[in-house]
C-alpha cells in the first residue's frame, strides 16, 4: 500500500502543510495540490462540495504529491466510510466532544477487529494499492476536531482513545463556543490558552496536533508554536483576497 507520507513527516518531526479545499472544482483541487502542499483536505462540512464532486476532487488530488484527506459533514459513520472508499487517506472529523465520539470516529475508519468499517475500498485500492486491506488500518489518519467547550473539557479522554492519530483545532468554532468572535489567531485570552492547551496535551501523548490558520504567516507562527499540521487558509478565502487585491491594484 502506498505509504501515508504524513505519518513519515510526523515521525521525522517535519511540519505538515495542508491545503484546504472548499471550492467544488476538481481542476482547482489539482492546481492547488501541485503548489507544494503535503496534504489537501476536501472540506465536505463547510465547502460547497457534494459527494459526486468530492470523488472527482479526490481523483484530481491523487495525481499530485499531496495526500488526500476529507473533512466529512459530521460524525456520520456511513459518510466517513464512503470518503475512505473513495480514496481519502485520512479524516478530519468536526465536533468531537467526548471520548465516545472519538471512539466512534476511530471505529468508522478501521476494519475489524479494530473497528467496524465495512469492506469495499473501491478507489481506495486504486490509489493505495492491491494490499490496501492489509495496511489501511495503519495508514489512514484519524484526526478529531476539538472545537466545543465539551471537547475541551474531555480532551484527555479523547486523546486516550486507542487508534486516534491526532487532533485538529478549529479556532473559529472553539472561539464561538467559548463566547468569543471567530478568530483564527487570537493573541491572548482564553481561546489562545485553550488552543495552546490542546496542542501541548496532544504533543505530550505523541499524537499529531493540527490547526486551521488564516494564512501562510499565521501557519508559520503555529509551526513555531509546535503544531505538527497547519492549514494556511482556505482556497476560497485566499482566492477572494487575491482577486480583490487584483481589482484594487488595477484601479489604482
Amino acid at each position: 500500500m502506498r505509504p501515508n507520507a504524513l505519518r513519515r513527516l510526523k515521525a521525522e518531526d517535519k511540519p505538515i502543510v495542508n491545503a484546504w479545499l472548499s471550492i467544488g472544482a476538481a481542476y482547482a483541487a489539482e492546481a492547488i495540490a501541485h503548489q507544494g502542499f503535503d496534504a489537501a483536505t476536501i472540506d465536505c462540512q463547510h465547502g460547497m462540495i457534494g459527494f459526486d464532486t468530492a470523488i472527482a476532487m479526490l481523483q484530481a488530488v491523487s495525481s499530485t504529491p499531496a495526500i488526500p484527506l476529507v473533512r466529512p459533514s459530521g460524525l456520520n459513520a456511513a459518510e466517513i466510510m464512503r470518503f475512505l472508499d473513495a480514496g481519502s487517506y485520512g479524516i478530519i472529523c468536526p465536533m468531537i466532544s467526548t471520548a465516545e465520539d472519538a471512539a466512534r470516529l476511530v471505529a468508522a475508519c478501521r476494519y475489524p477487529p479494530a473497528g467496524d468499517r465495512s469492506f469495499g475500498p473501491a478507489r481506495g485500492m486504486l490509489y493505495g494499492g492491491a494490499d490496501y486491506l492489509d495496511h489501511a488500518n495503519d495508514e489512514i489518519l484519524v484526526l478529531a476536531m476539538i472545537e466545543t467547550r465539551q471537547g475541551l473539557a474531555n480532551l484527555d479522554a479523547i486523546l486516550a482513545v486507542e487508534g486516534l492519530d491526532g487532533i485538529y483545532v478549529g479556532p473559529n468554532d472553539l472561539g464561538l463556543a467559548l463566547g468569543h468572535r471567530p478568530l483564527n489567531e487570537p493573541e491572548s485570552g482564553p481561546v489562545a490558552e485553550a488552543i495552546e492547551l490542546v496542542r501541548a496535551r496532544t504533543d505530550e501523548v505523541g499524537l499529531i496536533s493540527g490547526i486551521f490558520c488564516s494564512n501562510g504567516e499565521a501557519a508559520s507562527m503555529r509551526i513555531a508554536q509546535g503544531f505538527d499540521l497547519v492549514t494556511p487558509g482556505n482556497d476560497a478565502a485566499l482566492l477572494r483576497v487575491a482577486m480583490a487585491s487584483a481589482v484594487k491594484q488595477a484601479r489604482q
Copy 2:
C-alpha cells in the same frame, strides 16, 4: 432590459475591470464576481468548463454586480448563440483574423436584420428582462480578439465592421504569432508595439479596447496606457500563486 453597465462605463470613460474565470465552479465564480469587478468572463476556450458548468457559472455571476461575459471556444456561431441565450451579456471571441470573421461574429450576436441570431433567449430574458428582444442588439457587447499576425494586418478592416463594440488583445497568442515567447507585458519590441497599435487604432474609432494582463499591477499600467477594459490575471493563476505563497510562508 437591464442595461449593460459596461457601455455606461465606456461612455463615462471609466476603466472596466474584468475577472477571468477558468475554474469550473459556480461558487468560485460567484465569490470572485463579488470582489469589485465590473465584469466577469467565463473562459470556455482555455478554461476547464463545459456548457453545463458554464450555465451554472452564468447564474452565479447573475447574482452579483458584475456583468457576465463569455469567451467561446472559437468563432462558432451556434456556440456563441447558446452562451447569449444562457444569459451572457457579451462575447469575447478568440482568433478574429479578418473583417469577414468579425462580421460573422457580429451576426451571431445580433438579431435580424442586424445579424442572424436565432430567437430563444431562455436565461437571457431572466437576467435581462422581458423586453430583451427590443434591446439585446444594443446591449450585448461584441469584442473581437486580435491575436494573430493576420488579425493585426487586418486591424483597420476589422475595426470598421458595423456592430463590433471593441477588441480584446490576447498578448500571449499575439506574442507567439509574432515569433516570441508568450508574455503578457513585454516592455518593448514588436509585440509591445503591436499591442499599442491595436489600442491606439481602437481608441481612434471610439471602440472599447480590452486586454488580458498578468495581474493587478499590470492592469493598472494598461489602464494608464489607455486601455478601456483590463483583466488583472486569471482565477486559476492567481489562486495558484496565492496557495504557493501560503505554503512558502507556512514553511518559513
Copy 3:
C-alpha cells in the same frame, strides 16, 4: 446582512407566497423564482436534487427577488448546516414530532450561544453580506413541519421552543398519519380540524404558520383561513398538469 424579507412580510401581516422546487435544475429554479414568489424552497426531501445540484439552485434563486429556503431530507444537523452555509435563508424541517426535535432543529440553525451551528458560512456571506455572523441568528428562518400524530400531540411544546420561527403543515403526511389518504385540502373531518388547530395555536403565539397547498386556488383559500405562508403546488406537479393539458388541447 441582507434582511430576510419574509420576516418583514410577517411583521406587516402580508401573506408569503412560496415556490416549491423539486426539479433538479437551476434554470427551472431561476425561472420560477422570477414569477412573483416571495420565497422559493428547494426540496431536498422528496425532490430529485442532490447537494451538488442544490448549491446551483441556491445560486440561481439568489439572482431573483425570492428568498431561498431549503427543506432538508430530515432532522440531520450536519445536513442542515450545509444548506445554511450554501446560502439558504431558512429551513423547513420535516417530521418534527417533539419539543426536543424542535430544539435540535433550532440549535442546528443558530450560532452559539443560541445554538451549536458550526462556523463557515461560505455562500451565506456571499448572499447575505460580510456581517453575516452578526445577524444570521436573527435572519435565518426556522420552520418545523408538523406532520405526525406525535407532532400534533406535542404542538404546544414545540411552539414553545425558543428560537423557532414557525411551523409548516404537510397535509399529505399528516393525513396519512391520521389514517387518511393524502389530501392537501380535506374539506372537513379530523385532518381538516388538525390543520386548523395547528394554524390557530401558531397564530396565538405569534409565529409563522405555513402550509403546502395543491395549487393557487387552494393557497388563496389557506391565506383566507389565516395562514401566513402558502405554497401553491410544487413545480413538477404543476409542470405535469400544464404539459398534460397542452397535449389534450393539441389533440382536440
Copy 4:
C-alpha cells in the same frame, strides 16, 4: 430495431404531439414524456442543456412511451452524430437554408452509402436494439427547420433532397427573418402565408410538416390547418405560466 412510432403515426395520418424540453433536468424530461406525448425533443439549441445533461435526458425519455428527438445547436455533423449515438431517434436541425444544407444534414444522419454517419451507436443500440445498423437509416427521422428568408426561397429544393423526412417551422425566427416580431401564430400577413406555404408544399411531396406552437390551443389549430407534428409550447414557458398563475391565484 424498435420502430420509430412517429413514422407509423404519419403513415396513419394521425397527428404527432411533441414535447419541447429546454429545462436541463432528466427528471423533468421523464415527467413530461409521461404526459401523453408521442415525441419529446431535447432542445440543445436554445435549451439550457449541455451534452452530459442531454444524455441523461435521453435516458429518461427512453423509459417513457415518447420517442426521443434532439434539436442540435446547428448544422454540425459531428454534434448530430453524437446525439444519434446517444439514442435520439430523430434530429430537428435549425437554420437549414439551402438544398446543400439539407443534404449535409441527411448525410450526417445516415450510414453509408446513404450518408456518412460514423459507426458507433452506443446508446442507440440499447434503445433501438441489436439490429440498429440494419434499420437506423430507415427509422431515424430527419427534419429541417425552415426559418430563414433563404430557406423559404429554397423550399422546393430542400424538400427534394433525398432522405429528408420533413420540415419543422420555427415561426419566431421565420418572423424575425421576414422583418416582423417573433410571434408563433400570426393571424395573417406574410409570415402566416409563409407558414402555410411551407406546410402545403411539404404536404404535396408527402413529407412530415411540423411546427412549434405557443400552447395546446395553438397546436390544435395547427393540426386543423394540416400540420403533421405540433409542439404545444416549451416546458420552461409553460412552467413559468403555471407558476405565475399559481402565485396570482394565491394572492387573490
Copy 5:
C-alpha cells in the same frame, strides 16, 4: 402499479440474478441492465455514486427490464426514503444487526400505518404508476444485510420483523466480522457455515435469501445451494478483470 417482478420470481421459485452497479455512470447502468439481469442494484454504500448520479442511474435502469434497487450508505431513514422517492423498487440495507434495526428499516420503506415513510414519491410514480400509494407497501422489497457478528446472533429476531422481505449476505464483511479475510466464497469453516445458516433460516421462514458473489460461476453455485437472489460480481471488478485480460491477451 407496475408489479415488482422480483416478487413473482420468488413466488415461482425462480432465481433472481441481480447486477451490482458501483460505477457512477448512467450509461454503464443502462448497458448492464440490458444484459439479462432481473434486478440492478445501485450501490450507494461502497460505489462511487452521489445522489445526483444515483437518480440518473435509476432513470437509466427504468428503461430496461431489470428492477431497480438501491443499497443506501447505511440505516438512514431519510436517505432510504429519498431513494424510494427516486424510483427504487427495493432497498438492500447494510449492517442490520438487531431486530430494532430491521424494524427501523422496514418503517422507512412503508407508508403509515405499516411504517413512517413520508409521502412524496416523485419518480416513484413515474416508474410505478399513478396508483403507487395503494401498492407501494406491497411491492417495494426490503432486504436486510446480515454481515456483523451481532446480526448473525440476532438472525431469528431479525427474520421475525414484520414487513421484512428477506436478507442479503455480505460475505466480505461477515468474514471480517468473524475474524477472517474477506472472501466471497469460503469453501468451509465458520464463515461458510454462517452463510449457510443464514440461508437456511431465511428459507424456513419463507423470505428471500440473497447474497453477493464473486462472479457468475460462484452465483450459479449459490443458486444451487438454495439462494434466491444472487449478484454475480460487481461492475467495476468485472470491468477491471475484462480490461486486464484484454491487455494481457494483446501483449501475448
Copy 6:
C-alpha cells in the same frame, strides 16, 4: 515536461496497448487505466461523454501510468485545443480524408510557428509540467483516423503531412465506407487489404500505425501483423460481454 511514454515505446519498437473509454465515469476511467495499459483514449466521438465529464476522466487517468489521449468528435480545431489544454497528451482525430484535413489537424495541435494552437494549457501544465510550452509540440501525439474511401485514396499525401505522428484505423467505418458490414477483423477481402495497406505505408514512412480491435486476441493478432498501437476493445462492449457472461453463468 513529462515525456510522452508512447514515443519511447514506438522508438523501442514495443507495442502500445491502448484502452478505449466510452463510459462517462472518471472512476471507470481510473480503474481501467490501472490495468496495464500504456495509453487510455477518452472517446468524445462515439462515447457517452460531455466536456465536463471528459475533464474529470483526464484527471482520473492522470493519476495512473497510462498516457491520456482523446478522440474529439471531429476535425474541430477549437474542440481539439480544449482537450489538449485539459491535459490530453494526444489526439486521435476521426474522418481525416485529405492532406488538407491532416494539415489542419496538425496545426490545431502545435503552437506557432509549427501550427496555430492557442496558448493557455491549463491542465496541460499540471500534468506535463512548467516547461510545457517548450516541449508540447514534440510530445503531443497527433494521429489521423483513416476510415473513408477518400482517406484511403489520399493515404500517401496524408502520411506526408509534416508533424503528423501516425494514423489510426477505424475498421468499422472503413468497412462501411467500402460497402461492407462493420467488422473489426475481416479475414480477407478489400477491407482487410485496405487495413494492411494503411499499416504498411505508415510503417514505411516510420510513423505510428494504430488500430481499433474487437478484443485482446484480435489486438494480439494486429501486433503480430505489425501494428504499433492497438486498442483491445472498448470499455462498454467489454463490460457488456462480462456482465452478460456473468448472468449466463449464474443461470446455469
